[in-house]
């Protein structure tokens, strides 16, 4: 199910698997961001 358009995306700061921290704002400085939330098996 897709919802088009919406409110402000919640900002976040998370580490990558090497421990380096990234925030959503950092990615948005360079352009739109496609966040792909993985589930357990895929």
């Amino acid at each position: 199910m897709s919802v088009f358009g919406g409110p402000q995306a919640p900002d976040f700061t998370l580490p990558d698997y090497q421990g380096q921290m990234f925030s959503l704002d950092q990615f948005l400085e360079d352009g739109p961001a496609l966040l792909v939330f993985l589930r357990h098996l895929a």
Partner: protein, 137 residues
Amino acid sequence: MAQLRRFEEQFQEHDVQIVLIAFGSPHWARIFVDEVGVDYPMLLDPEKEVYRAYGFERSMLRAYSPQVIWYYLKAIAARRPVRLSTEGDTLQLGGNVLVGRDGRILLHHYSRQPTDRPSPDSILARLREPAFRSRAG
């Protein structure tokens, strides 16, 4: 993931940053990145706070729906690689969120089964819509 990679050039034309978010351990994430061969940033959210903030729920019924079981049975029968890790929360669901440069959500897709992701075409179409072009940046 393979679909996203096929459309990588088109995403680059729109300066789209693809960011993977998972809740497994750093060890699991490294294996995933190596196996899938992607070089997108892969962020870890072990407490799943960001999953919750974006509305991605846990569900026994949806995590193990007949469609999901059928998907994995077909994958196993076709000898496609299936990651059957027992690490992490097996009930957590995922999805995709396209965020414009101004921070507004342009598309929010709740995945019903492993292969239920928005098509790259639909994401690109969203980026091309005049109403969202400025937001997309």
